[in-house]
Symmetry: D2
Subunit: 139 residues, 4 copies
């Protein structure tokens, strides 16, 4: 298993329109950053965008958690670490760590499931995910 | 023609997450308010939601203009006046006036066109719009 | 303790611009709905907006959780139940339940802390919260 | 005058959460792209972020226009051309051209004014803008 391939680092800059009247990033916008991290992970690890329909499957988010340690401000350049967490169940679990100036700003997690073409929950991993896990040395 | 039916008033309250670090509504969020006004207009005037696919047509925005006179702040309750502007061409033109405490905050305009099922621009009004204009006394 | 005062129901309608290419509400937008619910709770329960600076305190969100059971679509009218959860620690904890057509769509939780004027974490409840809890029959 | 310094090109990728149920970028999100372009322009041209408070001035947007020729979709990588338009009046005018695959997707314009510390409209350019214009060879 090539452990190092399962973490992706993405650099993002805080936009003016992402900040609120307290002059910090509005908490809900971290889910956009998580999505940026997740997408970057997918590109760098050779898996199609998991947020849209892929091979007949959609992968809706069924859970998201975000814990804030420090605020981010307009213009801050930060790094998001996106970590793929293998699970036995047919789910996609990602954990996130946001760092700015080497300090931990926020941690989070998202859980996605697979819905087939007619919207039914898939109890098993779709073949394209099994293939990807195999390729990545994840059993 | 029942002129008074062509204007709809909608009351909206400014949300915390719509305001920016200058403590005013971020300018791009007025397009959300215009959409709220447009949707309210459609409901009150018996026409299906124009923002989604209706009868095989989609009605994308091709132009939007927004002019700001005064800022809105978190918690402000304001009124948006949505005015339907009849046009000869197959377009939907709405004008907007945002008022808070009787003062004009902002004016705007959006223009939508009709795309048919395969995405081609419709040069004529779709039948359901002609029917609606007839019903509303708009020639 | 007047238990029934600690739950607020708020009706909201899904906007077009809150939905994603899967034609469902983008998951991050539920945090906006939670904010709508929280604000409505505050108004109905006679406490100033907790999202902005109040009496020198700001109340940033330090944790948010959202679990999705069913999707919401454009035009859906749903109800959000906002429940205040009393805690011994100087925190504001709200739980949320989103219902549409009597079905549970989503549950969630937010945790807020109190920062004083110079941004330090308040280990005790500010006086205005103690007063409010007293008034509400909360210990 | 170094004309070529007055245009900045910025590459941006369409995010999933920026697209609507019609599977295209929601029209209001182009104002975020314009802001990205404007900010990139400021950085590349040695002028402080114009969207926040700078040297005691704030620079609110008083007008924005957006005209759409073609849609953008999730995952599209596009280029935004941000063009500074010198004006005699104390305003900041930027024009924008969005290109994807060499095709013109959208054009737009924003107008900003200068408000001083107490929120009054500045009828003359602030000194830091005059200095910047001088440095850039713009009279």
């Amino acid at each position: 298993m090539e452990q190092d391939k399962l973490v992706t680092n993405t650099e993002i800059k805080v936009r003016f329109n992402e900040c609120d009247p307290l002059q910090i990033v509005w908490h809900g916008n971290y889910l956009k950053y998580f999505e940026d991290g997740r997408e970057d992970f997918c590109i760098k690890n050779g898996i199609s965008y998991l947020d849209a329909k892929v091979q007949g499957y959609s992968t809706p988010i069924v859970k998201s958690v975000c814990e804030h340690k420090l605020p981010l401000k307009y213009g801050d350049i930060f790094k998001i670490e996106t970590i793929y967490i293998p699970t036995a169940a047919a789910k996609l679990v990602f954990r996130y760590k946001v760092f700015c100036d080497e300090k931990l700003v926020c941690t989070g997690e998202t859980v996605q499931v697979f819905l087939d073409k007619i919207g039914n929950l898939s109890l098993n991993y779709p073949q394209f995910i099994l293939d990807w896990k195999m390729k990545m040395g994840l059993e």
